[in-house]
Symmetry: C2
Subunit: 343 residues, 2 copies
DNA sequence: AACAGTCTTGCAAATGTTTTCATTTTCTTA
DNA sequence: TAAGAAAATGAAAACATTTGCAAGACTGTT
């Protein structure tokens, strides 16, 4: 009942451990017949090779670390899924960690992943604690930031340009003639994605000569419930905006539900635009206008890049890959009421 | 610029490697002053201990394997999140694998996780390939099935009784006086959860003397888009049911959007009930009536059980923990139209 | 001052692989 | 068939750690 190790298998097959090892790692180096014998012995003994021992030998651990803020919001689940699919296809297994938007916790998690000697590391976004940067630069592990793209990012990155996302959303509302505009964003201190979107959107509105009264700028975390509550408060009064630019689709969904609850017609009296195009956004009634972030494409692209970085052993090559955004016009946005009234 | 190992640190601190090891694993065994010296040396050299070497020594790898069908559907993301939080708090890191409802792929993934010598393994549901069962029983790794509870499950499990879920949903519709009832379920061949729900719901309807015409039993995967499409087809005709029992909230959401699109009043002319109570279900308009599956509680409970199983080294103790369901009445269900007409 | 007991620490063996190098076997070709 | 090349295999060192054992350094007690 002992756990079979490589020498047990070797004895069973009547060969040396070295040969067994070769069968598993470089099968082309061993004679087909010997190979068959070994494979039989592996089968019969139920041998499962020990990656830990393999990793110890300086070889690859065949794991890739992925650190995300959370996986509970649809936001990242899709990226995680396609990233996992991609690296898994190449024989890697995912070590997942989530920090709940807490950068100190992120530091500790990354440390733990390094203890496990991951072959590469992917993190979300470009905002990280100085400790994290120091830690990584000391190691020679390829690091990739996903979700964001910045032309001058301090890290290799695969993702979208969040400035562009904010700009596209804002310009769409402007093009529809809206001038009384509200924005719903989460706190942006630890979140470069939300920050970039908001900054760019604000800039676009200013450029169009639109003022953004403080009372229409509200804050809500990425939660449908809290976003709905926040929007209910904003929309209740007489003095409300004609359009809402939301930091992402989760918030936009909350906004639409809030409008539905108050009997405000969307897009008749209120236009709502989100960012993301999450699963379900297209099916809502009204269907959500949004700036599509192709999560799947990002996950896949990131997976490809990271696998490539592991095989070429040159951790320092800088890669920046930008994934395209797309404005998806659906039925939650429409012409500004003022324009309609004017005929 | 060499990577510091334990002997490098030992030299730096002027002690033996054994002592450094003890500082990391049994700090109470070493003199406080020596400990300080070692910790200083660790700090200064940027040493990161090698879990692979540790695992090789037969010690714990400090990883737990989790295998899910997918993480992209909100369905499992929440469980993954709270499971991860719980085991992470105890110092474990999660090795995540997803198989996309393919049991052969599940087998291969579990194999890979065993290669990494996970300290324990969690899988979703009780449906697995014979190979998987054989594989596991050969190892001495604690295995836990999460999401499902069955009093006579072949595996230790933490979750809810899906039969009860189906029954609760069905009885609610019956209590509201519905007799023309449709059901929307995914294919149930590889999915014991959906199968149990459907079987129990069907039984409850039969018990109430309700017939279930074949044309109102439709199939759709767990996708809002596809569920909406399927329901559009079902609801378009004149001859439609007065209530829809959906396999989960994702499908129910699709059903409600379909009704909205067709201008069918919910719950006036059509009641819709889901199972799950996912994030957002409570905020929808109309708010979704559902049987709440406390994903977070399941994930946490599963995490606790698996950590316990790892520390007590008795892989064979059978644990079954049942998490309670709750019918949440919201506004997507109402009295059957026939009853209303009758006054 | 000697003794027993308790703390600390170091030595060295053990863990399960991979890989280099050397050796043996097999295959080509003259 | 012999020599040289190519292919297949094995021996052993190496990888980074943990831990049982034993020895050395203290403590307090007579």
């Amino acid at each position: 009942m002992i756990k079979p190790d490589i020498v047990f298998v070797a004895n069973l097959a009547g060969v040396s451990p070295a040969t067994v090892s070769r069968v598993m790692n470089h099968p082309e180096l061993v004679h087909p017949e010997t190979r068959r014998k070994v494979e039989l012995a592996v089968e019969k003994s139920g041998y499962i090779r020990n990656r830990a021992a393999q990793a110890m030998h300086g070889r690859r651990s065949a794991t890739i670390g992925l650190v995300v803020p959370t996986v509970a919001n649809t936001i990242f689940a899709e990226v995680v899924q396609s990233f996992n699919d991609t690296v898994s296809k190449e024989g890697f297994t995912l070590l997942l960690a989530s920090h709940g938007y807490d950068l100190d916790r992120e530091y500790r998690l990354i440390r733990k992943l390094l203890e496990h000697r991951v072959d590469a590391l992917a993190v979300v976004g470009l905002d990280h604690s100085p400790g994290t940067f120091r830690l990584i630069s000391g190691q020679r592990v390829p690091l990739l930031a996903i979700w964001n793209y910045l032309p001058d990012s301090p890290l290799p990155c695969v993702g979208v340009d969040n400035c562009e996302a904010g700009r596209l959303a804002a310009e769409h509302l402007v093009a529809l003639g809206h001038r009384r505009i509200g924005m719903v964003f989460p706190a942006t201190s630890n979140n470069d994605r939300a920050r970039d979107r908001k900054k760019a959107a604000t800039a676009a509105f200013i450029a169009a000569g639109i003022e953004l009264p403080q009372r229409w700028q509200i804050t809500s975390p990425y939660s449908i419930a809290q976003a709905k509550a926040a929007c209910l408060e904003l929309l209740e009064g007489k003095d409300r905006p004609s359009a809402l630019l939301c930091a992402n689709d989760v918030i936009a969904q909350g906004a639409i539900y809030a409008a539905a609850r108050l009997g405000i017609a969307v897009p008749g009296s209120l236009s709502v635009i989100g960012i993301g195009d999450f699963a379900g956004s297209a099916q809502m009634e009204p269907a959500l206008t949004t700036v599509r972030i192709p999560a799947q494409r990002i996950g896949t692209a990131a997976g490809e890049e990271i696998v490539a970085a592991v095989s070429r052993c040159d951790p320092d090559r800088m890669i920046r890959r930008r994934v395209e955004l797309e404005l998806i016009m659906r039925t939650s946005t429409g012409l500004a009421p003022e324009l309609i009234a004017a005929g």
